[in-house]
């Protein structure tokens, strides 16, 4: 079994329902996100379009975070999920530095690394990840990539030629796919970050223990 995600960006409407569901399900503290939706405005007025891109851990098959973790707190489980053991984590932040997707953070309450686990605890109980359940337009598609009859496998097959992963050149082999997206959505360097243009400009960050 190899669990994976596909986000159909044609369907996503940026409601952030997935983000909130994730926060509630996993008790993600203030100022931290396991899953967040990025808005990118493309084009020049009046020919503009706002795009929405949910970003979460890519559960790479060749995960840099797993490789750099000195204590195996980040580890693979049998279904392909890159899971994290908060009790073992020493908070060195090596994984935060190694992740090319910026998907890992130091939890200000536990002072350990944390990230999306594809809701591994829900999957173990036969449930879907909370973000999948919350999505009103079924833009989040989750399932077994090894099973050719699974919804996600069929979806990827139908959208073939238009399925992308983020930063494929990093050789991480992500198991998180996107369809319907453009370079501006998936490549962080393909969109400008102008001061004053962000809808949230002043985010209060909770302090963590240790580090600087």
């Amino acid at each position: 079994m190899k669990l994976g995600f596909l986000v159909d960006l044609n369907l996503c409407m940026g409601c952030k329902g997935c983000e909130i569901a994730c926060k509630v399900e996993n008790e993600v503290p203030l100022s931290s996100w396991r899953l967040r939706v990025k808005y990118v405005d493309v084009g020049v007025f009046p020919e503009t379009k706002r795009t929405f891109t949910p970003l979460r851990c890519n559960h790479c098959e060749n995960a840099p975070c797993e490789r750099i973790c000195p204590v195996s707190a980040l580890h693979y489980i049998d279904n392909g999920i890159v899971n994290i053991d908060n009790e073992r984590c020493i908070g060195c932040a090596g994984c935060v530095m190694a992740c090319p997707y910026g998907a890992i953070y130091i939890d200000p309450e536990t002072n350990t690394a944390d990230k999306c686990t594809y809701c591994a605890h829900r999957i173990a109980g036969g449930l879907m990840p909370s973000c999948v359940v919350a999505c009103p337009v079924e833009a989040n598609i989750f399932g077994d990539l090894d099973d050719k009859e699974s919804h996600i496998s069929k979806y990827i097959m139908q959208a073939r030629g238009n399925v992308q992963v983020r930063k494929p050149e990093k050789n991480t082999h992500p198991k998180h796919f996107y369809t319907g997206g453009g370079n501006q959505q998936l490549n962080p360097l393909a969109a400008e970050r102008e001061e004053g243009y962000s809808l949230f400009n002043n985010i209060t960050k909770l302090e963590t223990v240790g580090a600087h």
Binding site: K38, V40, I68, C69, C89, I90, L189
Partner: protein, 299 residues
């Protein structure tokens, strides 16, 4: 970048609560800086004891003490940088050998054992032969200890500014630079020839490190967009441009010039200034190089 190409591809991020940027800050800079001195002093001390066995005999105790002090500083800052510092022992109980952090922790432990054994040999047993044997082993262990941070930086995928071969060279050069500078500061009793050798090591280390930085500065942007974006932070009005050039000036340019003048004039007076400049500047140059790749948006 592509967003500037044509109107249709212009793109502005209007909502993204990016995760905190600088994760490894000045504490890690202290870690790298102290480690450079803690291994570098042993490299140059080993050289001096081989080349000037009689005139440099007295350095055994001071270099051991300096190594112990700076490796202790290195370990202290390593541990306090952890968000869960009291779980440090997990590295030994649950080692994950693909991680440079694990490798570094174990090598540092071995190195620590060796330098304390050296202290025992020179302070209590007063056995120079034993000291020299232990020092030979310690010098070999000091090489991977110096280099493991380069491996760690290389494992930071997408921080393309940090490439393993360049960072390895920079780590070794930082050790020889700071080691020779520290030895010059404490080596007042060394003969002129030994000081001249140390000045040559200091000057050449500064030159080589400076060339590597300049290679990245001027040509790095040609290999990857990520590197080009990161280098903008130290170019022009970049927020780290002043700090970058202060680091380059004090760590490399000033020591190069002063060691050259010193050797030309057969005078050692300028070497103290060159050494202080190199040690202080090294901290600044390391810090800038550590921080700027972390400013790059990953998402």
């Amino acid at each position: 970048m592509v967003e500037h190409a044509i109107d249709a591809t212009k793109a502005v991020v209007t909502l993204d609560v990016a995760l905190p940027g600088i994760v490894w800050g000045w504490i890690i800079t202290m870690n790298m800086w102290a480690k450079s001195i803690g291994t570098g002093i042993l490299f140059v001390g080993f050289y001096l004891l081989k080349k000037y066995p009689e005139q440099a005999e007295w350095i055994r105790l001071p270099i051991t003490l300096i190594t112990i002090v700076f490796i202790s500083i290195f370990l202290f800052f390593t541990v306090i940088d952890l968000h869960q510092m009291f779980r440090f022992w997990h590295i030994f109980a649950h080692p994950h050998w693909t991680s440079s952090i694990t490798i570094g922790a174990w090598i540092a432990t071995i190195y620590n054992g060796l330098i304390f054994a050296m202290a025992y040999a020179v302070l209590i047993k007063k056995d120079n032969a034993l000291f020299d044997k232990l020092m030979g082993v310690a010098v070999v262990v000091a090489i991977p200890l110096t280099l493991y941070t380069a491996g760690l930086m290389a494992q930071s995928t997408a921080r393309e500014l940090w490439q393993m071969p360049t960072e390895m060279a920079q780590m070794i050069l930082a050790a020889t630079l700071s080691g020779s500078a520290t030895m010059l500061l404490i080596g007042g009793r060394l003969p002129y020839e030994a000081k001249r050798d140390l000045a040559v090591i200091l000057g050449l280390s500064a030159l080589a490190a400076f060339l590597l930085y300049m290679g990245e500065y001027f040509l790095g942007s040609q290999k990857a967009e990520e590197v080009a974006v990161v280098l903008e932070y130290v170019k022009g009005d970049g927020e780290y441009a002043t700090m970058f050039w202060l680091g380059q000036t004090f760590a490399f340019i000033v020591p190069m010039v002063l060691t050259y003048l010193s050797i030309q004039n057969r005078s050692t007076g300028l070497l103290t200034l060159a050494s202080v400049s190199a040690i202080a500047g090294l901290w600044v140059s390391k810090h800038v190089w550590l921080v700027i790749p972390q400013l790059l948006p990953m998402s």
